[in-house]
Symmetry: C2
């Protein structure tokens, strides 16, 4: 089953490097470089299935390097109505609509407006069909999006804390098998429940809800 | 006219120190320390009008220091339903409901869930009356919240970029005197317009809108 890993920044940490190396050997992991992320990958000699960006400041040599390392390139105009991440996610979705998951690395941290813009992506109708399979990852946070239904939330290694932050109204929220529980909670406005904790006696925490959309964040300090 | 400056973290940068020093001389600037921020201020010998936190890990000596340096202290329980920032903002609002502005330093950056939680504060009904006067500040970002109406957005020193990100639906948005303009824009879902630019030929950018709530972010890289 296809997984897509996309790198939006030139900062790649050790755990991401492991995934990248694995991806080079597996045809089921598609690698996408987004703008500065594509530069980084090409420069380090990694093969990409897709490179997306405006690439306006690259030298001829760097451009050749990008071409050599990418199966496909999408060159965006410099002045555009959408961000590189948006364009990349759009392209990713069209190529691999049935992927099991989409991991965006380097879409958080740095400038607050960029982070928020990347979180807000999932509110665009064109991305609704994949938002339950989308994850934004940096070295301190793993972000997923929960749609109404039953969710078993498994703690990632080294991450004890989790937060649930809703984008809008929520209805019928039940939260159990964790430190702070909720029973049939509803709210007309967006709510934020942060610094909840996984408990060692359970394999996972459980959240069920009827209406709304949650940002689910696992984090470490 | 009273201004409130609140420090939520032990990291205080140079520009904030200047404001702190000014505040020590001016009775119109109220200084609030929130948890680790209060420690920092007490430790450096700054006087506070209010200190809020659970202060569960302080020594007797540190507690005395906090008491000496604070006009008033609010000691929160360790296990609580609200965050320190929420409790602090609530206390601030009750003491100085008519303040001209409220600046929260150190409420952004660090863990993503904390940053989002602090942005989400303004969605709570109890804070609606002050959200137009609330600003969250770190060394790279200044965040304000825009309610429907006419706004003249002045660039802060060294900050060319600005972003407008809506929490929910927006109606009748007009944006002018800046690089990317908008005319009578409406959307049923939250939208994000990032990396807009102030133009040197105008004293300010102009945004008008009829319905919604925008996060307005000025930033530098």
């Amino acid at each position: 089953m296809v997984k897509v890993i996309a790198f939006c920044t030139r900062y790649v940490d050790v755990s991401q490097l492991e995934i990248l190396k694995e991806a080079q050997k597996s045809p089921d992991i598609k690698v996408v470089g987004v703008d500065r992320g594509a530069h980084y990958l090409a420069n380090k000699g990694y093969a990409m299935d897709l490179a997306v960006g405006d690439f306006d400041s690259v030298s001829e040599e760097e451009f050749e390097q990008l071409k050599t390392n990418s199966q496909e390139m999408i060159i965006l105009p410099c002045e555009k109505d959408e961000t590189d991440s948006e364009a990349a996610l759009d392209a990713i979705m069209k190529r691999w609509p049935d992927a099991e998951s989409y991991f965006l690395y380097g879409a958080l941290g740095g400038r607050l407006d960029h982070s928020l813009n990347n979180l807000w992506l999932v509110l665009q109708e064109r991305f609704w069909s994949i938002r339950g399979r989308l994850h934004l990852i940096d070295d301190k946070n793993v972000v997923s999006f929960l749609e109404p239904g039953h969710h078993e939330l498994v703690a990632r290694e080294g991450m004890t804390y989790f937060s649930l932050i809703s984008f809008g109204a929520v209805k019928g929220v039940n939260l159990s098998q964790c430190k702070y529980t909720l029973k049939n909670f509803s709210s007309d406005f967006p709510r934020s429940f942060i610094s909840n904790e996984f408990l060692p006696e359970f394999l996972y925490a459980v959240v069920d809800f009827e209406e709304g959309l949650f940002i689910f964040i696992q984090s470490k300090d």
